[in-house]
């Protein structure tokens, strides 16, 4: 007789660091389930025959199957099920927007909360990493060479899958450290860098070569990669250039793109007291935007000692695109949400009596206008419209623009025959990641624009399969 499911309405709570404490440190916020809680949560799964949750997962992790293993206490078995379809479970369990993916389809969510699938995934991956002493096997080489451009989730996944099939893979990364957004964007307190490093170490132990400090399009071109013996190339170069609003005052000191602010804090470790790379710390900070990137910037500013952090977003709470958990955490930590507001100008100091006043040229405030939600747009989101005469000034010392990205033209400009769409995204065949150029595949943010870790990973997987087919049939 099968055991009866656990019919508690709510998920087991995720233990977290106290908001008051964590708002001042960079250690991980969510602490993870222990074995007993994981088993209890797993028992909330009804093991539905038609597996609706799987349809919500971009890489189709066999969710009820891995949860069933947890119920049995076979955590390593659960890991094996996940790792058949997902190559970065410790990462995805932490950063996937589960509430709009797998968990949104969970039957338990109709009455009460869905099963905590993300939390269980994280538990399983952490268990595996803590107990697995085995070295990855070096797969038998098939003698074919593939190059991967960019070491974000799409590139790492593609490299890993190809290496497992026996390809000799080299990953070329422009920065001095591999990991893409996982190392320079997403902060330590949400995704410890040691977890990302572990995934990269795994790849290297399988024989994947990682060449940092190589900018494809500058140091080497894609055509040169082919000339030097690579038979296929995967481009996973990420979302590209940060966008600014185009309003007055964006050149003032204290205005950052979220990419710059987070890169200084994460990759360059400016949060450490002995850091060699500076970043503005303390004071009042306005973060413009409402996505995960904005939440990360706001919470990082707080941890760097800001006395006040605002999220300035032109729509309302419902439309915030960030993961729900991040918004909740930000609120708990004391980030203030200035919703239905849009900046129209950044204002700077300019002391007319003293040209040498060191504050000259620095941000003093941001002028905003109130917004209200009007008619829905094509995607059904209500369009924000300005409320005439509602402008006001918000005193701040720095402004972090987190309003999206536009594609980097570098690779397109140096690669003959690689087509991009009118926004500059690389055009690919959906089911293969194949581009207009023979032997070149692409995926992740470079194709879709800023999206998610899991979709980038999925694209890397699809391309790895397609590259394998292409090279074996050649």
């Amino acid at each position: 007789m099968a055991e009866l499911p656990n019919m508690k309405m709510n998920k087991n709570e995720m233990p977290t660091q106290d908001p008051k404490v964590r708002a001042h440190n960079f250690e991980e916020v969510a602490l993870g389930y222990d074995e007993a809680v994981a088993i209890d949560e797993a028992k909330r799964c009804l093991n539905c025959v038609n597996m609706p949750c799987v349809s919500g997962c971009p890489v189709k992790v066999r969710i009820p199957e891995f949860i069933a293993k947890i119920k049995e206490g076979d955590f390593e078995g659960a890991y094996q099920v996940i790792s058949e379809t997902s190559s970065l479970p410790a990462v995805c369990g932490r950063v996937c927007p589960q509430e709009t993916q797998c968990e949104s389809k969970c039957v338990r969510g109709i009455k009460g909360e869905p099963v905590g699938i993300g939390r269980l995934e994280r538990f399983v991956a952490d268990f595996h990493n803590a107990h697995d002493g085995k070295k990855e096997k070096v797969p038998k080489s098939n003698g074919h060479k593939v190059a991967v451009v960019g070491s974000g989730p799409s590139g790492l996944t593609c490299a890993g899958d190809l290496a497992r099939k026996g390809y000799k893979v080299t990953v070329f990364e422009a920065l001095h450290k591999a990991g893409g957004v996982l190392v320079y964007g997403i902060p330590e307190f949400r995704l410890p860098k040691s977890i990302v490093q572990k995934e990269i170490d795994k790849l290297e132990s399988m024989g994947v070569k990682i060449e940092t400090n190589i900018v494809i399009g500058k140091t080497l071109t894609i055509d040169e990669l082919f000339e030097s013996g690579f038979e296929a190339v995967f481009v996973g170069s990420g979302a590209g250039l940060p966008r600014f609003m185009g309003i007055k005052g964006e050149g003032l000191n204290g205005v950052y793109s979220a990419n710059e602010f987070l890169t200084r804090a994460n990759l360059m470790k400016s949060y450490k007291t002995d850091a060699t790379t500076p970043v503005m710390k303390g004071g009042k900070v306005a973060v413009v935007g409402g996505g995960n990137v904005a939440m990360d910037a706001a919470r990082t500013a707080l941890r760097l000692g800001a006395e006040k952090v605002y999220i300035v977003y032109r729509r309302s709470m419902e439309e915030l695109p960030a993961r729900k958990e991040e918004v909740e955490h930000a609120i708990e930590e004391g980030v203030e949400f200035k919703l239905l507001n849009n900046p129209v100008e950044v204002l700077g100091y300019n002391n007319p009596n003293d040209k040498r006043d060191p504050k000259n040229g620095f941000v003093r405030a941001i002028r905003c206008i109130k917004m209200e939600l009007g008619e829905p747009d094509e995607q059904g989101r209500r369009r924000p419209v300005e409320v005439q005469g509602s402008e006001f000034e918000l005193e701040v010392d720095s402004v972090i623009m987190s309003i999206g990205t536009s594609p980097n033209p570098l690779i397109k400009a140096t690669t003959r025959g690689l087509d991009t769409n009118k926004w500059g995204g690389i055009i690919v065949e959906e089911n293969t990641g194949k581009t207009s150029k023979e032997g070149v595949y692409a995926g992740g943010d470079a194709v879709t624009g800023a999206a998610t870790v899991i979709s980038a990973m999925g694209a890397g997987k699809v391309a790895a399969d397609a590259i394998d087919k292409y090279l074996t049939s050649k």
Partner: protein, 280 residues
């Protein structure tokens, strides 16, 4: 790792190094730059490529000690390695179609101006060079400029070498006396470039400048290197580093380059103290 193959001081604070970086050397063109880190956990700083030897696989950098990272770099010796060295970044200087050019260099900016002057000369342009320094002790690369130029004017602020005055003085004289340039190319401190542009404007001669803002990645990812050109936002690392000087907002750029002045001064002192202690 990127080994230092040669090192020499051009004056008390300006140092030249040859770095083993074959992939960068293979692609480098005058006007482009590299980004380096001296050590793990070091800062990323951009330096212009002052020369390259494709056969030997070496890249020449020339830097002035102005802060913590350049102080650390100065203490590296032949045989030591740099942690990271990435490039060539940015766009090469456009030299095509120019017959008469005036290259104006100021201080350590001459390290960037020199390969540009050489490239113009190689492309068969008549090169006039004007280089300026604070005083005699700081003069660098005079011989190299002499080789690349039909005419060379050396200026010092205090008159201890060459003529006394700033670089705009001879430039203005030449332009006023009817000397024709298709283009002026200015590289040096922002304030110098600003005045060279103003002089050029008076005589309607196009003037290019090379910008050297604070950078991190150098690939367009962070936007930290942005500047206003004709009211439009540009990223120096991908759109530049050369821009039409008429259109650059120099005042904004000068202010932006002061953003971390306090931090940098502190860090520099810290680093200097560290080295002093080691010596004792």
């Amino acid at each position: 790792m990127f080994e230092i193959l040669e090192k020499r001081f051009l004056n008390d604070t300006v140092c030249e190094m040859q770095i083993n970086a074959p992939l960068v050397a293979k692609k480098a063109e005058p006007g482009q730059f590299i980004i380096l880190r001296t050590d793990e956990d070091g800062e990323r700083i951009p330096l212009t490529i002052a020369g390259f030897d494709r056969k030997k696989g070496t890249v020449k950098i020339i830097f002035q000690v102005v802060g913590s990272t350049t102080e650390i770099l100065k203490h590296k010796n032949v045989g030591d390695c740099l942690q990271d060295f990435v490039g060539p970044l940015g766009n090469a200087t456009e030299t095509e179609g120019v017959k008469n050019v005036c290259v104006v260099g100021g201080g350590v900016g001459c390290a960037i101006a020199m390969p540009v002057a050489e490239k113009f000369a190689k492309d068969k342009a008549n090169v006039t060079s004007v280089i300026g320094f604070r005083n005699k002790d700081l003069v660098i690369l005079e011989d190299e400029f002499k080789k690349a130029s039909k005419e060379l004017v050396v200026m010092t602020d205090d008159g201890s070498y060459g003529r006394q005055g700033n670089v705009c003085v001879p430039l203005e004289e030449m332009l006023a006396s009817g000397k024709k340039f298709d283009k002026i190319f200015a590289i040096g401190p922002l304030i110098m470039m600003k005045f060279v542009v103003e002089t050029a404007k008076k005589y309607n001669v196009p003037c290019m400048v090379s910008m050297n803002p604070i950078m991190i990645d150098g690939t367009g990812m962070c936007g930290g290197c942005r500047l206003s050109v004709d009211g439009q936002m540009k990223f120096a690392c991908v759109d530049g580093p050369d821009f039409d000087g008429y259109k650059v907002d120099f005042d904004e750029m000068m202010s932006r380059n002061r953003m971390y002045a306090d931090f940098e001064r502190h860090k520099y002192e810290e680093t200097c103290n560290l080295y002093k202690k080691e010596v004792k």
